[in-house]
């Protein structure tokens, strides 16, 4: 069966909903479909806690936000994109305010802003410590008022249909019934989020399996800067639940096993009782996570069944401040770790959190494939460079979600074409593949969960906070073997109704492709920059690598890495300085 829309938005998170609304508002009467593998309000944007950056304070300026972003990204950001980003971010956040987002306020009723890691000024808007939750529900509820926005809730997109050099739709499985359907469109916007689940220990939800990256990669769009994986310094051990940076912004300390604020040993400034912006605990995430690894090496961390940890100390903040500014942190600690941060130390360790890289797009979200757009964490515009600053991602998905939505609407209006016959037969092939090779595949001797676990441990061991050429090369081999094992996996579940195992198999296949691109890009980048730290190349090398990596899928499935120069407008590459 085939249905068609003008635009398909794959993904119902912050980026997807914002793009859908923007498209609906740009061209009246346009028909937009939001296809999401979970109900939109379940998307991972819901988990974001700390806030969203947008310069509005009187002592702040767009240039300072741009500079913090660019230096935080170790000069790998495209500066034209950053300039657009910082200019539009406050507007988008304001629009969310008009749509009902319950931003926290100052006593006089104006928006309140808080400090955040790596930001020199207070510019992070927040809705207590459930910013992403409120942002996503505001967007979702607002989207309900647009008649032109049609939702496919709990549909999994398994393939992009590309022919004649342009994208023409998707093939998707309706989870509840197992129906495999072709949905054609004149433009497709990917907003499927990141791929944290490639790693074993992550803050990311179960759904963050890099599907969109794999879809684009297989459809011929390159993946940019995939080697840059952000570790957040403070995750709860075992669950990987994130303790937001706001906990440090409000004055939390990081202590090693001797109760010592160890960050002072790593060029991050000198300890002060109250937080100082861009210093100590408010340094950028990559540096904090790296400092942790050094503490492990020095034997100054605390051992637990779930690996080494350090302590986050919030006790001196007092119950009152914690309950008003960080209620969710306290709730999470109590509910999932059985710890009360008002009286106890919170064990934390670095945890995979965010993918800086993603589908290569221009500043309008357009990918090199005609009609294919991407926005949000799945995309790499790039404003995050080698390391994203906390609270830049929520505004990113609003700003570039909007731009992609608008650009896609105009694309449909100006260049929209009907699907070709070839695409429909492609769709039929994909249907047959899902049916025969996956669902009805017999006689396999592999378990999906076993392959997934091997992939995750391989990634952690070789592409973690510190990497080396040897370990990466070995990882590339292992991933190749796993790719060969995957077709031998058989499903226990042959049912059509809500077959989560089928989805798990498709997700695993996406994750393997993405993992290969991460390892290939990391292997080629022989320098250390931001979140990519090579033990065999410890210095930054602007001569060779002030460039974006582009992972391109070859016809045989292997990964080729090209480079693209970084756009520099006003800020020449300099040294990243914190704590001074």
């Amino acid at each position: 069966m085939t249905t068609s829309h003008d635009i398909i938005v794959v993904g119902g998170g912050g980026a997807g909903l914002r793009a859908a609304i923007a498209a609906a508002e740009t061209i009246p009467g346009i028909d937009v479909a939001v296809v999401s593998k979970v109900y939109p309000m379940r998307s991972h944007t819901v988990s974001a806690e700390g806030g969203a950056a947008g310069a509005i304070a009187e002592d702040d300026s767009l240039d300072e936000h741009a500079y913090d972003t660019i230096s935080g990204g170790d000069w790998l950001c495209d500066q034209d994109a950053v300039e657009i980003f910082v200019k539009d971010a406050p507007k988008e956040l304001l629009r969310l305010e008009h749509w009902g987002c319950p931003w926290s306020r100052q006593p006089d009723g104006r928006i309140a802003v808080r400090p955040f890691g790596g930001m020199k000024k207070q510019r992070t808007w927040f809705a207590a410590d459930k910013t992403g939750f409120h942002l996503l529900h505001t967007l979702f509820q607002t989207s309900l008022k647009y008649d032109g926005v049609h939702r496919y809730d709990e549909w999994y997109v398994s393939k992009l249909l590309v022919d004649d050099g342009r994208v023409q739709g998707v093939v998707a499985v309706e989870l509840t019934t197992g129906r495999i359907e072709t949905i054609t469109a004149k433009a497709v916007i990917l907003t499927t989020g990141g791929c944290g689940r490639v790693f074993p220990f992550t803050t990311n939800a179960a759904i963050k399996t890099g599907d969109g990256m794999a879809l684009a990669y297989r459809a011929g769009a390159p993946l940019k800067d995939m080697e840059f994986i952000q570790y957040h310094p403070t995750g709860l051990p075992f669950t990987g639940i994130l303790i937001t940076e706001a906990a440090r912004a409000e004055g939390g300390y990081l202590l090693n096993k001797d109760g010592y604020r160890y960050l002072q040993d790593y060029n991050l400034g000198t300890p002060t009782p109250t937080p100082v912006l861009r210093s100590m605990e408010l340094g950028p995430r990559d540096r904090l996570s790296q400092a942790f690894e050094h503490e492990v090496a020095k034997g100054r961390t605390i051992d637990t069944p779930y690996g080494p940890v350090v302590h986050l100390d919030l006790r001196h903040l007092g119950a009152k401040l914690i309950d008003t500014k960080l209620p969710f942190v306290r709730e999470l600690c109590l509910k999932y770790q059985n710890i009360d941060p008002v009286t106890e130390l919170v064990p934390v360790r670095p945890v995979v959190h965010y993918t800086m890289g993603g589908v290569h797009t221009d500043i309008d979200g357009a990918t090199p494939v005609d009609g294919l757009f991407a926005a949000g964490e799945v995309a790499c515009v790039s404003i995050n460079g080698a390391n994203r600053l906390g609270s830049n991602s929520l505004p990113e998905l609003l700003v570039f979600g909007t731009r992609a939505g608008r650009a896609a609407a105009w694309h449909v209006f100006r260049h929209g074409k009907e699907p070709t016959q070839a695409v429909l037969s492609q769709a039929a092939d994909e249907r047959r593949r899902l049916q025969k090779d996956v669902l009805e595949h017999d006689g396999g001797d592999e378990r999906i969960s076993a392959i997934r676990t091997s992939m995750q441990t391989t990634m952690e061991e070789s592409a973690g906070i510190y990497r080396s050429g040897d370990s990466l090369a070995k990882a590339a081999d292992t991933l190749g073997e796993l790719q060969e094992r995957l077709p031998r996996a058989a499903l226990d579940d042959r049912s059509l109704a809500f077959n989560t195992e089928l989805i798990a198999a498709l997700e695993l296949s996406a994750m393997l492709d993405v993992a290969e691109s991460i390892v290939a890009s990391a292997l080629r980048r022989e320098e250390s920059r931001g979140a990519h730290q090579r033990t065999d190349f410890p210095a930054r090398d602007d001569n060779r690598f002030l460039a974006h990596s582009l992972a391109v899928r070859e016809a045989d499935g292997s990964c080729r890495v090209d480079y693209l120069p970084v756009t520099i407008t006003r800020w020449a590459p300099g040294e990243r300085v914190y704590g001074r």
Binding site: Y39, H44, V46, P102, W103, S104, L144, T239, A497, E501
Partner: protein
């Protein structure tokens, strides 16, 4: 502490089973494992066909609601040890049609949610005019009702919804109230028109279990009662002062 615990999981395969049956699995009993970890263990290690929803594992996405030993719970926030020595009975949320195993159909809620217009109703001011001012006290007025994660535990606990599927139900009414009480909103009258009919507010007989089971302390029961009072006074005004008055 014993090192395993038995989990009894409801299984239902559409087209094959007439009604759900219970299957029994032994899973490791660990101090920090929640019911959802037990289910994932079963799926990964014992039986890949066991079907349930989950995502965030931090009590915020609202997808993992199930009935645990008779009570609606977020399974990612319910420790197995609380049920030791077991067995732990895991069933789908009550009052919803079961799609498969532990997965229920909640589309009915989404339709009702759209009906109550959960968005700011007013002519939008230009962005250049800046934010709509809202003091922390005004924010506090509706904050509690904005915390709903749409987990459907309240619907599962509400016997009225089970008996009368037309009932708009706790979370949707609480969300309508969330916008009514928002100082930026002007849509209260429109929403009242939707909710003033018998299946709207009045079907609720204040059983109160919705509030008792809500993991986010939304207090939908209170929201509905407040709403009834507003609706009643508004109607009174309408009859007493047929023309002016509003």
């Amino acid at each position: 502490m014993a090192d395993t615990i038995a989990m009894e999981v409801a299984r239902y395969q559409p087209g094959e089973d007439g009604a759900p049956t219970m299957a029994r699995y032994d899973v490791p009993l660990r101090k920090d494992w929640v019911v959802l970890d037990g289910l994932n263990y079963i799926k990964d290690e014992i039986d890949g066909t066991v079907t349930f929803r989950w995502s965030c594992r931090m009590g915020i996405c609202g997808s993992c609601g199930m009935t645990v030993n008779g009570e609606p719970k977020l399974t990612c926030a319910t420790f197995l040890t609380d049920y030791a020595p077991g067995p732990v009975r895991v069933e789908p949320l009550a009052n919803f049609p079961v799609i498969r195993d532990l997965v229920v159909d909640i589309d009915d809620f989404l339709d009702k949610l759209s009906e109550v217009k959960p968005w700011i109703v007013r002519d939008e001011a230009p962005l250049s005019a800046g934010e709509y001012l809202q003091t922390p006290e005004q924010l506090e007025e509706y904050r509690q009702y904005s915390m709903c994660i749409n987990c459907m535990l309240c619907y599962s606990a509400c016997p009225v919804y089970g008996l009368d599927p037309e009932f708009v139900g706790p979370a949707a009414i609480a969300l309508a109230q969330r916008y009514n009480l928002d100082s930026r909103d002007e849509g209260a009258a429109e929403r009242l028109d939707v909710l003033i009919h018998p299946e709207g507010l009045w079907a609720c007989t204040f059983v109160g279990d919705c509030t008792r089971v809500c993991p986010k302390h939304v207090d939908p029961a209170g929201a509905i009662q407040r709403y009834k009072l507003t609706a009643a006074l508004d109607t009174l005004k309408h009859y007493v002062l047929p023309r002016g008055g509003r």
